[in-house]
Amino acid sequence: MFGYILRRLLSAIPVLVIVAVLVFLMLRFTPGDPAAVIAGDNASSEQIALIRNRLGLDQPVLTQFTIWAGNLLTGNLGESFFFKKTIAELIASRIEPTLSLAFATILIAVVVAIPLGVLAAYRHGSWIDRIVMGFSVLGFSVPVFVIGYLMIYVFAITLGWFPVQGYQPLSQGFGGYVQRLVLPSLTLSVIYIALIARMTRASVLEVLNEDYIRTARAKGQVERKILFRHALKNAAVPIVTVVGIGIALLIGGVVVTESVFAIPGLGRLTVDAVLARDYPTIQAVILLFSGVYVGINLLIDLAYSLFDPRIRY
């Protein structure tokens, strides 16, 4: 068991190294001179040379990569040219809203999607099933920002239940924090609910045909317990997997949702960095998000082997 965990942990390292190399190479493939782009249109050639020197662009590519990777490993993410701060500081100041949004979204999605999926599977072919499946296809078809603006229009502008936009840190009071988090996390959870509900339905549907479900029914177990204890438990692996895979959707959605609701988080930082062509920041944010994505999926994988006795490698 310990050997498996260790092997699995080690196997994530090459993936992250490749991500780092890809992200690094992207900057090299930029058409034109990144230093000139960063310096702006009115820069003199001395200024461009200075930036090139500071970025280390005047050195061989391999040396550049070694220096950059070495800095990464020691936790030095570099410095943002646009925000004039170290990237570590930038990320630290932007992380709270993003984490809050992500957690709230996952919570809403799991609480709503799993019962919906179980219900749809249980009433397979009924109108409930059709509605859940219809909602799921619809959820995949409407862009996050359209859902966001619809929410703002209905719940903030017309009904006035929530503030239109903005974010309030937790340290300034719990009420305002939650109030400003409701609409963005509802918005972001739509696509996630669609994904999880669909997978829950498919997976529970498969399990419901198993012999042990018939046995449970035969011995007179109540339906609710059959569904949530026998069926859902055995259907859990694909559901948890899709929650993990959905993190990629969630990260993409964070970028858009934060822009719609004017939330000063990492997603907004990503867009600002791209608009300003702030390459060091773009690299760092992509690495961070990819690391989180790979890390969460690794944890989920490990969790199976710990909790599901059927899975042994």
Binding site: P14, V15, L16, I18, V19, V21, L22, V23, M26, F29, T30, P31, V137, L138, F140, S141, V142, P143, V144, F145, V146, Y149, L150, I152, Y153, I157, V164, A202, L205, E206, I247, A248, L249, I251, G252, G253, V255, V256, S259, T270, V271, V274, L275, R277, Y279, I282, V285, I286, F289, S290, Y293, V294
Partner: protein
């Protein structure tokens, strides 16, 4: 073609009949029929844009800025005669007619959907065949694909866009790149399972060369899954274009696209929600139709994938 007449003959003879049957079965599938119908309508709207009562979608008119849907404007022609034009979907903050922009926007979205789907399937197919068939390249190729897939799709697209000058080509490339690894994985897994099949082993034993082996025995197995995958890629391409344009890093505003019409409507959304509402409806409807088409195609062409 005469190398293996005994093997090819029955296959060739059966084909026309089975093709017709598949086509008929497809049309009877309600998802395919509804999705296909909506897409045909959208394509017609895009193609016929100039004759659908539109104005020049790029014409800026300071006197009609921010008008609500239904606003009527009097247009004076050169010869002095006047006509009344009704802005069915209102105007944006530069006075452009939103209806015309939405109708012309269908062109960009549909073009991107088709281009991205075809290109990512073609590129992914080639890489996937190479990875699945040439053993020593399998490892390196798949590690790079794993790396690409570890970067969340929209982030990867944003990163690629940031490398180029904003424009249609940059957006198309940015949407293709994150889709390729998924196609490669699919194709590779099909190749790996098919090459163990007795008929492929028999063909190899009979001395069939690699190109012929690919074309006759391996490629046909990838067609149905790739059609399904390509459809879903088309749906996601429309969405990603809209998202990139909406974030201000997609199609430049001179070319109307559903995404950049909505991006333009962001600032005044509280007062004039129609700038986001109408393009949003068109976009949602189109993506929904593509997704339904994909679901229907999957159920009909590729029953093994149906419950996934």
């Amino acid at each position: 073609m005469s190398a293996e007449p005994t093997i090819l003959a029955p296959v060739v003879a059966e084909r026309p009949a089975s093709r017709r049957r598949i086509f008929g079965r497809l049309l009877r599938n309600p998802s395919v029929a509804i999705g296909g119908f909506v897409l045909v309508v959208m394509t017609l709207i895009g193609l016929l844009a100039p004759v659908l009562g539109t104005l020049d979608p790029t014409a800026i008119n300071p006197s009609t800025r921010n008008k609500v849907p239904g606003f009527e404007r009097t247009i004076r022609a050169d010869d002095g005669s006047t006509s009344v034009f009704k802005h069915r979907m209102g105007t944006d903050s530069l006075g452009r007619d939103v209806y015309s922009r939405v109708v012309y926007g269908a062109r960009v979205s549909l073009m991107i959907a088709v281009t991205v789907a075809l290109a990512s399937v073609a590129i992914g197919l080639v890489i996937g065949l190479v990875a699945g068939y040439i053993r020593w390249l399998d490892g390196p190729i798949m590690r790079v694909m794993d790396g690409l897939m570890a970067i969340p799709g929209i982030l990867l697209a944003i990163a690629v866009v940031s490398l180029f000058r904003a424009g249609l080509a940059a957006v198309v490339i940015a949407i293709i790149v994150p889709e390729i690894p998924r196609v490669v994985r699919l194709v590779r897994s099909i190749v790996l399972s098919v090459r163990e099949e007795p008929y492929v082993e028999a063909a190899i034993m009979a001395g069939t060369r690699v190109p012929a082996l690919m074309a006759r025995h391996i490629l046909p197995n990838t067609v149905a899954p790739l059609i399904v995958q390509g459809t879903f890629i088309a749906a996601s391409a429309i969405l990603v274009e809209a998202i990139l344009s909406f974030l201000g890093i997609g199609i430049p505003p001179e070319t109307p696209s559903w995404g950049n019409i909505m991006a333009e409507g962001r600032n005044l959304f509280r007062v004039f929600p129609h700038n986001i509402l109408y393009p949003g409806i068109f976009l949602g409807l189109t993506v929904l139709a593509v997704n339904m088409l994909g679901d229907g195609l999957r159920d009909t062409l590729d029953p093994k994938m149906a419950d996934r």
